[in-house]
Symmetry: none
Subunit: 226 residues, 4 copies
């Protein structure tokens, strides 16, 4: 599905589009595999290069550093999600159903129809959950924000917020609620897998996760209406 690749075209996270060359695609594919396996902290360009039978120097032609590579992956997710939400909700008339659909997408692994040969969707979802917040919880966040690397996240939140405002035009915190549900979906998946005492959800029970988040969202929006 080549169209997916356009999500990240011309972005600031890479020096050279990895989707456009064989080596680039191997870098993406193995990055996802390796980062999922050992985590961002232990992930290095050396290990990555070794695993794909290439060299660090070659990886550096695509990405400035591992932080930018993670940003590329997370940005790909934001782009995919926004696109998916748009196409999936396009035909729906009710903003409530649109929001419901969007939360359903947020609260479950990247669906299989996003299939691209070099991207393992399940592992990417794990990375989004475990490493995602690290793309902005860094000292360079303000500088990177100016470079526009978080526009994907903002776009995603804007869409969610627009649905919320359609449901309740009086609600004042639509953007905060939008970012909250994005983070909450990911966080609760993590907690259910690793720190179950911080959640009531069972591992991989995405239906219940959606129920929790959807209830939270609709209660907040509707309560306010009154």
């Amino acid at each position: 599905m080549l169209s997916n690749l356009t999500y990240t075209a011309n972005n600031k996270t890479c020096l050279k589009n990895p989707a456009e060359s064989d080596l680039g695609r191997r870098i993406l594919s193995e990055s996802i595999h390796l980062m999922d396996e050992i985590g961002l902290e232990q992930f290095t360009f050396r290990k990555l290069a070794n695993n794909i039978g290439s060299t660090e120097a070659s990886v550096y032609r695509y990405f400035e550093n591992k932080h930018k590579l993670l940003l590329y992956l997370v940005d790909w997710y934001w782009g995919w999600l926004e696109n998916k939400i748009m196409t999936t909700t396009h035909h729906l008339s009710s903003p409530y159903h649109k929001l419901d659909t969007a939360i359903g997408l947020l609260a479950s692994p990247i669906s299989i129809d996003a299939s691209i040969a070099h991207i393992d969707e399940t592992k990417l979802y794990t990375i989004i959950i475990s490493e995602g917040p690290k793309v902005y919880l860094v000292k360079g966040v303000d500088k990177e924000n100016l470079d526009g690397v978080y526009t994907g996240y903002k776009g995603l939140c804007n869409i969610l917020a627009s649905f919320m405002i359609s449901i309740n035009p009086m609600y004042k915190y639509a953007h905060s609620l939008a970012s909250t549900i994005v983070e909450t979906c990911h966080n609760q998946v993590f907690f259910s897998q690793h720190l179950p005492r911080l959640t009531d959800l069972e591992q991989e029970d995405y239906a219940t996760l959606k129920d929790f988040v959807m209830h939270l969202t609709s209660s907040t929006l509707l309560q306010n209406k009154i």
Copy 2:
């Protein structure tokens, strides 16, 4: 206020209680200063030791590594917060008021009465917000969880959840909601400071932040009652 130090006594995050020696207190004090200044990624025991006029070897007598040191600081926060919530809500009869009070504490910098000479509360709150999630978003989370290093967080959530259940005994997701509001409070502060398009809140407007989170929480709990 020496009693505060008991929050972290005998925990698994340090090899030797830093609160009990002069060097230990200098380590804590400078850690907070330095981590706030340069961020966890750039923070090293070498820089820390240099700044306090000591050596890496000496720091290693207190903490195994920088991750454990961060855990100590975050755990101190969890302990302080739990303690603060308990003492502040003790005299309140209404669980709604208790929850309201707790969220007020979560959604603002560590109050000045927590004052301990070697801890800069404002900087510590910044660290909790910017580096906090990194204590569990690591590959070793399951192993560390077995060591009981996250009991502070769990205790905090349990208290919040108990308030929620008092308000609405039928609500099924009290723990998830509890961890959600903890994370949301911190996240929204970060967004208001660095990524304003992801929030509707103004920087340092803790009253509105509390309003947002409290509304979210109460809507969710009460809606469900019906």
Copy 3:
């Protein structure tokens, strides 16, 4: 002034004459600019190629490495100087005046009549002074000497020595004195700019520099005569 280019035609310092192509001239021009700006140590073909919007591979078609490129520039200077001395002193009958003229040329920036579009004479003189000795103060000096890359310097010294011998046929160290005054001119300019305690000369006071060197030279030659 194309005739100038013949100084370096067919020499051993380049693989392909850079003066004969547009890219080659851009390489020369930017080399001078960049080497003057960042110094030989920090100068790389990558930076050079980036600055002229070309690639390292292209630069390699002209020069084997940065040392050879420096040698080309220095050799150009030696050639230009020899040529300049010859044409300027041609009509003079007194060897003393010839030497005086030659030292005047050595002890001042490359004159403007050497003007070639792609060569910034002021910057090149700075390079000669700051980086010049590095062309021979290397382990490969003996090997490179066999390749004849220093013939320009030798030719220059021979001319100076011939003037000296005309002045005083009994003087035994004409070649040593010749190379000494070449090095001294450059060295004293450097010291006047960067280490003033090692000289009595003021920065950019080329007249006094010439006075110092000319006095040194004539004293040495004439004293010996007696």
Copy 4:
């Protein structure tokens, strides 16, 4: 001769005095050997560390980088030479004889009485000649000058200049002449070894070198007197 070590005590070229520890002395000793063998450009801390059976990290405790290490060696030479000149000329009444003695020291390898176990004087003299100018022919010269790393050279020139002024108080360029003869001594040795066409001196004929330089110096000083 431990007193020699005081030449470099408390200087800015090293992080930790290498003369005071066994490892430090091995670093000095092997640095001289290796730099003489392969030249400054090929010299790396890795090769040095390998040769002494230690690690780069250990070398970095003594010297910031190879440039600083070279500076240490050159500075040691300047200090030794100044000291040697002072003690050797102390009893002489004639400034002419003092200058003659000083030039004799400049124009020959470091004498054996400077013997320190970890310093090979012959190789160090070769390094001074071949690599010496590189300590100041760098972009950072002005910054380093402010740090006082060239005071040794200035002190040496001051002494030579003071002798010159005693000989001829009217001579205006004593400092320039002093730095010229220092550089010339070294340069002519290099030329005699590697580029004989630039000199009239035979390799290792230090007596003739001294004759050339002494004649140059005295002619210049005395001519001016008249």
